[in-house]
Symmetry: C2
Subunit: 363 residues, 2 copies
């Protein structure tokens, strides 16, 4: 691969939790392990860490390695860090000089994707790119934000929102050219799939959820997982981005796994099947419908093999037989990679001089 | 999706067998069924049909619908077709005025990928794009042809060569940015997989092969399939394109399924596993090695579920957990789509003004 050297991509991070720290780790301490990232020239001009404090240095860039060290040591940025600044996420989005806003805060169903939507709207309105790992903006405000990105000839990228870094949206954008997507089906929530796997081994749901939290795969609020909200957000994003729908999680016919007993799970297992929380989107006339529901999956079905925190998606198109993309044993690297791959997309776009609207036009 | 209207893409077809005819069918009679292809403006300036005769019309374009009708009716282009011309494939590649050469002839192991390599070399030397569904050129002359395409700032695309239209190379090019591929594994030959499935049902190999030929999935020479040559060609292409190798099918540690008895197949099945012909490429120090061999695949492995003419590939990278792409029940539409997706790539590249070397630099 050969890339032309250009100016660094100036990034504003909103949120510096597990994913942000993992990205920082890959881009600093572990950078030499990943030769494919050599061409990615990123300058972090600010990190809005909320409870951790905020760092801003528009001129020199924030020292990402130092920021990571501090958070690992003290769970907050050091009060003596010269880049500490009192600024809100929204102010940062509106006033700082960045090329790309990277939204890493958590999904809020209650607030219908806010305040992340406002951050991204601010970036796009200023003609800046936005990458979101937070599902809220693309689950609740896809049409508005996409339209804004197109109007401003800038990019809105969100690979991490479904199946971490596994190429779902990149694949749809680059690899299904000319195809019309007819239907989507998948297992998209790690926590519930992990919990169901544990329950098949005889654990009760509470213990399984605690285990999921312990290994760090549960969402901030596990009820989002258990009640199917996280799955609903993901199938909404897929329906919006791949099928031209305009739906949000509240439109999804949703039933999570809350209330399921270990006996129910074992009964299905004993019949040779497995209970899985299946997300679906399909065409109903000119409309797109979506659901999230438990289904009994037979043993010789790809979805049956997806255990623990794995994910899978089947995409049905008019020109090809169904293609199935499975992600096995994802870790924080996979999540971080989703954001990194979006950064690589922006970076190569800026280098090759492709108009950014050409990215949007293919989405 | 929105595309700018530009000049048509002028295509030279070499070969007009099942795949060529399927492409013609999709682009003419069935065109209205596939709205995603609306932006693809193709002008067929010549078809080299060999035994079917050749059609050339550089000015107006060949009437693709008429050509298809004639071949379906008479197995040859009509002698009264005004576009009939006496010209060889190589002459056509060297002298006609096209934008893209579409190589649809069959793989030749004996001739080490020729004459298809020469056709493609001629196109690239003239600064024209080339798309190949024939595995030969990219299995036997990848480095040379890729280097030539880069030098001439033109494109060599070959999505159909592995897993038909399922996005293997497009995915690697667009969706694994920044990742280094560490290993590849898959079931990539439809005929042997179909034959193994039939043998599990008690058929002998000869009958199973005849059945595969009857439904049109066997290669022209079934020995290419049974002796693992087709699989070796595919894993070579993958190793070359995704892992920077310079190998050809003759470097692959190859053992096909020839000689396997129905009893062997049934014995493995009775032990709860299935025999599958597995293609592999892996890093051995700085080298890339590849093999094609029968393996016993346990029941709860994704490869075990791939039956009949299906295919599967697992890609292992440094930044993500393994991702598995499965293709279910492919038909001639899938094969044709591989070529169409390459045409869409060229078409959108030409419209957005991306330099074609940017496609190559990402491959």
């Amino acid at each position: 691969m050969s890339y032309k050297k250009t100016k660094p991509l100036r990034a504003l991070f909103i949120g510096f939790g597990h994913v942000g720290q993992q990205i920082a780790k890959i881009l600093t301490r572990e950078r030499d392990n990943f030769p494919g990232l050599a061409s990615l020239d990123l300058k972090t001009i600010a990190i809005i860490g909320r409870s951790k404090g905020n760092l801003v240095n528009e001129k020199e860039g924030v020292d990402l390695r130092k920021a990571l060290d501090e958070v690992e040591e003290m769970k907050t940025f050091s009060s003596s860090n010269p880049d500490r600044r009192d600024i809100s996420a929204l102010e940062a989005a509106r006033s700082l000089d960045y090329d790309v806003l990277i939204e890493l805060s958590n999904l809020s169903i209650e607030n219908r994707g806010e305040p992340a939507i406002s951050h991204i709207r601010s970036a796009l309105e200023r003609g800046r790119h936005a990458i979101t790992a937070n599902k809220g903006p693309v689950a609740f405000a896809y049409s508005e934000l996409k339209g804004l990105a197109e109007k401003m000839e800038t990019s809105l990228l969100y690979e991490t929102t479904v199946m971490d870094g596994a190429p779902v949206f990149n694949m749809a954008r680059c690899c299904l050219k000319g195809c019309t997507v007819k239907g989507i089906e998948g297992i998209l929530n790690s926590t519930t799939n992990f919990v169901l796997s544990m329950m098949e081994e005889g654990q009760c749901m509470d213990d399984a959820v605690k285990e999921a939290q312990k290994i760090g795969i549960a969402e901030a609020d596990p009820n989002y997982d258990l009640e199917g909200w996280d799955s609903s957000a993901k199938i909404s994003i897929l329906a919006n981005a791949l099928m031209g729908a305009s739906i949000s999680p509240i439109h999804v016919d949703r039933k999570g796994i809350a209330g399921l007993s270990t006996e129910d799970v074992e009964k299905t297992l004993n019949s040779g099947k497995r209970l899985k929380l299946i997300c679906k989107a399909w065409l109903a006339g000119k409309d797109v419908r979506a659901s999230v529901k438990l289904e009994e999956i037979p043993s010789r079905h790809h979805f049956n093999l997806v255990m623990g925190s794995g994910s899978v998606i089947t995409i049905e198109t008019d020109l090809m037989g169904p293609i199935v993309l499975t992600q096995q044993n994802p870790t924080l690297y996979d999540t971080a990679y989703g954001v990194l791959s979006d950064l690589m997309t922006l970076s190569s776009t800026m280098e090759t001089g492709v108009q950014t609207d050409s990215i949007n036009s293919l989405l």
